[in-house]
Symmetry: C2
Amino acid sequence: MTIYNFSAGPAVLPKSVLKKAQAELLDYNHSGMSVMELSHRSKEFDDIIKGAESLLRDLMAIPDNYKVLFLQGGASTQFSMLPLNLAQGRKAYYVVAGSWGKKAYTEAVKLSQTIPFEPILLASSEETAYDHIPQVDSAKIDKDAAYVHITTNNTIEGTAIYNLPETNGLPIVADMSSNILAVRYNVADFGLIYAGAQKNIGPAGVTIVIIRDDLLNKEPVLSSMLDYRIQADSGSLYNTPPTYGIYMAKLVFEWLQELGGLDEMEKINREKSSLLYDFIDQSDFYTNPVKKTSDRSVANIPFVTPSKDLDAKFIAEADALGFKNIKGHRSVGGMRASLYNAFPRQGVLDLIDFMKKFEQENQ
Amino acid sequence: MTIYNFSAGPAVLPKSVLKKAQAELLDYNHSGMSVMELSHRSKEFDDIIKGAESLLRDLMAIPDNYKVLFLQGGASTQFSMLPLNLAQGRKAYYVVAGSWGKKAYTEAVKLSQTIPFEPILLASSEETAYDHIPQVDSAKIDKDAAYVHITTNNTIEGTAIYNLPETNGLPIVADMSSNILAVRYNVADFGLIYAGAQKNIGPAGVTIVIIRDDLLNKEPVLSSMLDYRIQADSGSLYNTPPTYGIYMAKLVFEWLQELGGLDEMEKINREKSSLLYDFIDQSDFYTNPVKKTSDRSVANIPFVTPSKDLDAKFIAEADALGFKNIKGHRSVGGMRASLYNAFPRQGVLDLIDFMKKFEQENQ
């Protein structure tokens, strides 16, 4: 039975990448050692981390005045690191268009009880269960504030921001965890981009931070591990980085480059998600809860049947046929198909066939 | 050529563990998915993380009133998390017997500029380049303070604490990164134990924290990711944990249990290190810089030849013969043999043969 993994993250990885990792698991590049056994100060690992950075710079066309950091702790750690480094003594704006954006804002509020800065909720679609991307009124933005925070893709709710808001000159800071390397953004339009690896980059445990160098903190913050300047100055080697995860990320970057790069990947992703959206739209049985089609995520596609009972039946039958992890997030219910970069087109076609059959049998 | 990896961390892993990881890299337990692709909320990963915890509890005989956390960020993140959670509004004592203990103290001082608590240097051997474990005067300890911090094994300097200091009733908090699971400690003698995985546990990117439950913070701290209580209440799943690293740790714990457990491992480790110490002690050519034999580390054995030029020659010749990463830490110089759990006894015998030959050729 073919297994299709629709997990929202950790998620499916390219088969060819896993095969390469498997082949050299005990002996990396004739070193006689596994990548997991390499010293992070060794020549071999230096090639891996610099290679990974160089590939990512190529893929995303990252300008020279941006640093690329390989950190730990996930996007959730960035929720605190970000204001700690960038916003002290100032205002910071948050656009909340989903559960993760809400978490970023809530963590900022928590931090502001100890660290002097002022997190401000600039726009939110929480009242309508995040069924659309809220409009930003740039007239409300104080140009002396630190940044405007957005989430480019809402993993749980299935929406995305493709056109960046007007911010009255403030840097945009973005959680790009669930659509980094899936669609093209212009890095120069951001002050800082961060992303957990476990959707389009590699295994969980690596966090990518891309930061414009003039935004690096001038003063040390309360912990060296949470200090962008220290991490940047040490080339992500302030302490032992997650070496194996960084190696896996490099393999994924190589795979993406061989496939044709980010623009080609976006084309493939848009075609995959269009297949599913088009099928849902023509059906009277399935519904996508996102309000405006222009806000739809290319990466995460939630949908429901006419009832919760049928949703549960759908998930059970799909699972038995090898469509794994298609259950929606517990906060939303229904189903969710996460179609990340490594998710194969054939999996979408097979899912649609099953959806047709299920619709016929349960109408 | 046989490769022996003397790296101080990331370090050698058991071959059988790497082989098992390799065999199931593309298909874990007939799931059709790699462990790296498993959702951290899946049944399969739940079995992995609970299995890893259960094995570690068995191996170290961790009492039921201790929580086991699988975190990210390395010991370096614990340097801040520890006082943030345990010491607010109080004193905290530091025994500095090596470079890492110094870092733990320095980070505490940095944090204390923002968070109200008072880090106190209780004892230090810095003046003599950490060539011994300093004595602790328990009469100096205020019994209302939060803890006494020690480093059980000094990776860089090659010393270790086997007999815990008197602390006037305060909990001992220990960085056990480089000898956890190498020698037996009584967990109940500690309030909190933490360790980066990359020596005796698995790949870099996992941090183990073992905390007595009455020490869990009553009040939230400034970041949820840095909050022991939140991490404990969510079973280390507050956000996506480093799933593959935790899986590797489980495999290493299984290997250790099959080998006979921690007491058997300690016996093997003591024999391995005795072989090398005995050889160094009988030689007029090689010297171990540690002052007292009772302070000697079982895990990390630094040594020098009569001159820096000969040290450099030794390292180059050793490297060419497959004795990798035997160069001492840049702050100390000379050589260092890290003989962690997975380092084979034969590697010590072969090293001694080479050392004899080198001594004869260069006397």
